[in-house]
């Protein structure tokens, strides 16, 4: 989804995802004259990424307009945080923690196993758009190291041998699970 200046805003107005985002933004009662309106920008970006799965330019422009700030400013904030992504992720997002505690407990081997089973590298999406893998740094559950999160679910003390079993569930009950997780 690339934005061109001639892109019709009608798409945004009738789109359920944009409607959801707008409802959230409206609840913030932004005032264009308030210099502190930007305080909530990161929260809104979080929400937008939850809704859309990623932050494409059309979403960035939409948010910039709502906040009366430039697209560049929104883009700059997004680029600063690893958490935000501007490329689509899979419906099922596998995040392997490579923070210190997880790493020393063999998280890199867990990551390798996910890569092998799904046939993609970290940062990539499977061809059917279903799975993506990312590595991240510390989710604050070091006691459970190594930690893997899949969408909103946390898996602790994961061993390479557990990977197939974890994924099996997503392969089999795919439709049900996808729905559950994407609207979690």
């Amino acid at each position: 989804m690339t934005y061109t200046p001639n892109h019709s805003p009608c798409v945004e107005q009738n789109h359920p995802q944009f409607k959801e985002l707008d409802q959230y933004i409206e609840s913030l009662h932004l005032s264009p004259d308030d210099p502190r309106r930007k305080d909530t920008l990161i929260m809104t970006l979080h929400r937008a990424q939850e809704i859309f799965g990623y932050l494409p330019e059309i979403v960035q422009l939409h948010i910039a307009k709502k906040y009366s700030i430039s697209h560049a400013e929104v883009s700059g904030v997004i680029s600063f945080y690893n958490f935000f992504t501007t490329t689509p992720k899979g419906k099922i997002q596998v995040n392997v923690c490579l923070g210190t505690a997880c790493y020393v407990n063999g998280a890199n081997k867990v990551l390798q196993e996910f890569e092998q089973v799904l046939g993609i590298k970290s940062g990539q999406v499977t061809a059917d758009g279903k799975f993506s893998i990312e590595s991240l740094r510390c989710v604050g559950a070091c006691g459970l190291a190594p930690v893997v999160t899949i969408n909103h679910k946390v898996y602790g003390k994961v061993k390479p041998g557990d990977v197939r079993e974890i994924l099996e569930k997503f392969f089999i009950e795919e439709d049900k699970d996808v729905k559950e997780v994407s609207h979690a």
Binding site: P5, N6, H7, S8, P9, C10, Q13, N14, E57, Q60, I69, S70, H71, A72, E73, V74, S75, G76, S79, F80, T86
Partner: protein, 583 residues
Amino acid sequence: MINLTIDGQLVSVPEGTTILDAARKLNLDIPTLCYLNLEKIKYLNKVASCRICVVEVEGRRNLAPSCATPVSEGMKVITNSKRVLSSRRKNLELIISNHPFECLVCAKSTDCELQKLVWEFGINTQRYTGERSEHPIDRSSGALKRDPNKCIMCRRCETMCNEVQTVGALTAFGRGFNTVVAPAEMNPIVTSACVYCGQCVSVCPTAALTGVGYIKETWEALFNPKKHVIVQVAPAVRVAIGEEFGMEPGLPVTGKLVAGLRRLGFNAVFDTTFGADLTIIEESKEIIERIEDGQDDLPILTSCCPGWINFLEHQFPDLKYIASTCKSPQQMTGAIVKTYYAQKMGIDPKDVVVVSVMPCIAKKYEAALPSEQTYGIRDVDYVLTTREISKMLKEGSVNLNHIQDEDFDNPLGFSSGAGVIFGGSGGVLEAALRTVYAKMTGHELEDVNFTSVRGMAGIREAEIQIGDRTIRVAAVSGLGNARKVLEKIQRREERYDVIEIMACPGGCVNGGGQPYAEERDEIIEKRMHGLYQIDRNSRVRKSHQNPAIQALYEEFLGEAGSKKAHEILHVTGLMSESVECHH
């Protein structure tokens, strides 16, 4: 007042003063790099990112950046201790460890503030080598060149673009060592909100932001015997180019510049000021028609400045329709050269090359727009900045200090004082008022000086009595100020009849293509005074009294606003359909 000592000297300064400013009061020149204060245009960059201005403050563990540290009572500051000097040197050496060593062939060489500091510090070796950032160079706009490899993250451009101009084209993208100042999503600048005002170029300490150059293309045209090469010179160039030859800022060097350009081999040297007079004839007709007809499409907004027109299109598309449809003086001059002049000389317009010398970066972008053509031929082929033409003069062995004045060529060489003042903020409005007054009342003005619309203030408003009508006008410079005025118009809080808007604070005298000057407040004013001086000494001070313009209408265009005038001198279809949602 706060009392403190700096290097053992007592000084009293008002509360809130920075150590840097207090030191300057004592004539202590603490070196700076990222810091920049241009008071007249309300520009202040003190992000304290370069750490070149650090000083030692007694009782503090860390060195303090003097540009961003306010003074306090009894403070004891040392600006040149061993620790200070070695820290500054180390910081500078670290900055240049990630900077290309290509000063010899760099566009900014001898005007580079980084180079100057390195030279002043006597750094003669590259002490640190390490990872280097590598980014593609962006020439996508054909106007503004971005070379992020030369960026030192001083953030001056961001402050200019976002705070003063409120364009919002640039951001710091990424994090840590990989951060790069770029448009949103690191997209090519041509797809961004950039308007090419070039004010970022004026404040960039290095060559990270410059103009896209057309010197090579111009020389090639000049040495091509099949081409008839015309040059036109904008008003603001003549009061600034002297600086490149060591002359006093603001000194008008019109005759010398004309002579110099002729030495370079241009077949004719014309004056963009002629095009400015022509703009006034066409625009004043529009102004009078709109004032007399109705109120719906007022105020009329001037269209001479392409940076401003770009801003209008990007940021206020709903107001696009109230802008004048007149092409800018650069484009009008080019169009008349390729129609009237070519016809008169019996030359095929395809063999005519129009080069213009402009104080501007946006003019490069404007000249390449598809709408800026006449009968399918580009009005202007190459746009050079004041800086570029001074390089060509130097390469072509022309020293403006040692050349006799010469006159512009005819028929596009005669111009009025009204045309010349286009180069400063308020000038277009004043020039238009001189003509509008005469056309609306049937009387000529005795005193042509509308001093209320002159000056450096960002927004200047006035009420002008024309016959039994009072018209409300404003002269605005700097796009942040333009935004304020346009928002008032959108909210219908203010009513104006005519508004002149220039993208650069102060107008073209402070254009993005003018000679570099770090602290330029005073220089801009001197250039502006130079323009008014030319106007004062002009034989003709009203555009409609310019005999060359009168002849052009008699011989070629018919009357102001004629069908032919519209075909050649106005834009149609430039304003793309605005996107509205009807659901």
